[in-house]
Symmetry: C2
Subunit: 279 residues, 2 copies
C-alpha cells in the first residue's frame, strides 16, 4: 500500500486529508521533494532535505521545526511494516498551513508519502524520449513548488509519445517538467546553471561524476538553435536517473536514438550509487 | 460560522478536508471564484460561474457536471441556517481530483465556502492604498488558479502599509494580486485588456458604467512611466468594489489621496448594484 505520515501517525494515504483552508489548497503555497530508495536505503536524503529547506525559505514557509523531524520520520517510514516492499519514492510535502502573514507562513503543516517506485519502462530506456518545447517559464526556478500548471498545460496538446514539457522561454533551454536537461555537443555537456533551474540533486551528482571522468562541462542554457548540431541530449532525475532524449518537438537529436554519452553517464551513475546512499 | 459544501453535505469548514492525493495539493491544479452577496442575494453569479468554467477549461479540468450543480448549491448555502448572517463571500473551488491524464483532469472534486464578508476598513477607503510593484508575471492570465506564489512572494519584503502586489513585468502594468487596475489620465480610464489580465467581473461592470456615463476608456496596459502623469489610480474587485490607489512603490499618484474619479466610479457602482443582483 501507499503509506502516509501526517499528524504524528502512519496510515494508508487514502485516509490522509488536509483541511480545505490550508494555503496549499487556497493559494498554492506548498513545497515538496521526491527521495528514492535503493534496497531500503535512501539516496542523497541530505541534499534533498537541504533543497526542501531552501524551497520553504524562499516561499516564506517557517519549516525549521518540520525539517528537523523529517530524517527520523523518513527512516521510520522506510522500515514500517505497511511500507511498500521494493524500492520507494518518499515524498515529504510542506504546506503553507492556515496563516498567511503577508507572504509569511508561520504555521505550516506537512505530510510524507511512501509509495512504490515504478521503474522506467525498458522500451522507454531503449528508444529514448521526446520532449515538448514550451515557451512558458517556471516562476521561482529555485523553489520545488507544487505549482505545476505551467508545465502541465502545454502537455495537453502534445503528441501522445511526448514524455514531458521542456521549458525554453525565448529559445533558452532551462529544464523539463520534472528533470534536468543536458545537451551533448562535440564531447561537451551543456546544462543550465542553478538559479536558472532547480538545484537538481541527480544533476549535481552527474556533474561531479562527469567531471571526475574527464567530461568538459558548460553550465549555461543551451539554445534551441543548437539542437540540430547536438550529438545527444538527455534528462536526469531521482526516479528516472538518466534518460536519453531523441527528439525535441519535431527536431531529431543526433541520430534519433539513444547515444553512447548518455549510456556512459548512466553507467557511471549506477556504479557510483553507493557514494550517495545513506547507510 | 464558516460553512462549506463538499461531498453532498453542508458542514463547518474546519471539518471539510481533501485527500492529499488530490492534484490541487500535489500539483497546484485548482481554480476558484469569489462571489459576494448583498442582502442575501448573490451579485453577478452568472459571469462568475462562466469565468469558473473558462478557468477549468483552460486548466484541462472536466468541470461541466460540477458547474451545472453550482447555482443550486450556492442558493441552498445562501439560505442555510448555519450560513453567516450578514453579507457573504461565496467561494466555489474546483480541484484537479485524483487523475492526471497528460494535463487532462477527468475526475475533479469541488467544494464551496460560505464565509462572512469583511468590509474594507473605513480608513483604507478614506486614505487610499499603496501597491507594491513586482516585475514577475502571472502565468495564464485568463485562469483564476489557486497558484498565488508569484504575487505572495513579493509581498514579503514590502513595507507594512502595502495593500497588495501590482504586476508590471517589463514596466507594463497588468493587474494586482486580487484586483483589476485602472489609471486615470486627463479624464481617460486606462486598463489592461482581457487576455493580458483576468476577465474581471467587477471590471466589466465598471467599464460598462463608465462608458454609459461618458468616460473615455483605453483598454491597453498602462506603463510604469505614465504613473507620474496620472491624476488618479484605483483597483476593483468583488469584495472591495472600488478602492483608490495613492502610491505605487515610492511613486505618489496625483495628489497622493483618493480623487474624484474613483469616488464617482464607486458611486456609480453602488447605485447600479441592483442591475447585476440575482433575484
Amino acid at each position: 500500500m501507499v503509506l502516509c505520515y501526517h499528524n504524528n501517525t502512519f496510515g494508508p494515504v487514502e485516509e490522509c486529508r488536509l483541511p480545505v483552508t490550508d494555503l496549499i489548497i487556497q493559494r498554492g503555497v506548498g513545497v515538496f521533494e521526491s527521495i528514492r530508495t535503493y534496497d531500503k536505503h535512501t539516496f542523497a536524503m541530505g541534499p534533498h532535505l537541504d533543497r526542501l529547506a531552501e524551497s520553504a525559505r524562499l516561499s516564506g514557509i517557517a519549516a525549521d521545526k518540520i525539517l528537523s523531524q523529517l530524517p527520523d520520520i523518513i527512516n521510520e517510514g522506510l522500515r514500517h511494516p505497511d511500507a511498500p516492499e521494493g524500492d520507494m519514492l518518499i515524498k515529504p510535502f510542506v504546506t503553507g498551513g492556515l496563516i498567511n502573514n503577508r507572504g509569511h507562513f508561520p504555521a505550516p503543516d506537512f505530510f510524507v508519502i511512501f509509495e512504490e517506485m515504478h521503474p522506467i519502462a525498458p522500451e522507454t530506456i531503449k528508444n529514448g524520449i521526446t520532449l515538448q518545447p514550451s515557451y512558458l517559464e517556471r516562476p521561482f526556478p529555485l523553489i520545488k513548488t507544487t505549482s505545476y500548471l505551467t508545465g502541465l498545460i502545454p502537455m495537453r496538446d502534445a503528441p501522445s509519445n511526448v514524455y514531458e514539457t521542456l521549458y525554453c522561454c525565448g529559445g533558452e533551454i532551462t529544464e523539463s517538467l520534472r528533470s534536468s536537461f543536458y545537451l551533448c555537443i562535440d564531447g561537451k555537456l551543456i546544462t543550465a546553471p542553478v538559479g536558472k533551474v532547480l538545484r537538481g540533486v541527480t544533476r549535481e551528482i552527474i556533474l561531479t561524476l562527469a567531471s571526475e571522468n574527464g567530461f568538459q562541462i558548460e553550465e549555461r542554457c543551451p539554445h534551441m538553435d543548437e539542437l540540430p548540431n547536438a550529438q545527444e541530449a538527455f534528462i536526469s532525475g531521482s526516479a528516472k536517473e538518466v534518460l536519453s532524449v531523441v527528439k525535441v518537438g519535431t527536431q531529431k537529436i543526433g541520430l534519433g536514438r539513444p547515444g553512447p554519452v548518455a549510456k556512459h553517464i548512466h553507467k557511471l551513475f549506477l556504479s557510483n550509487i553507493s557514494r550517495w546512499l545513506d547507510k
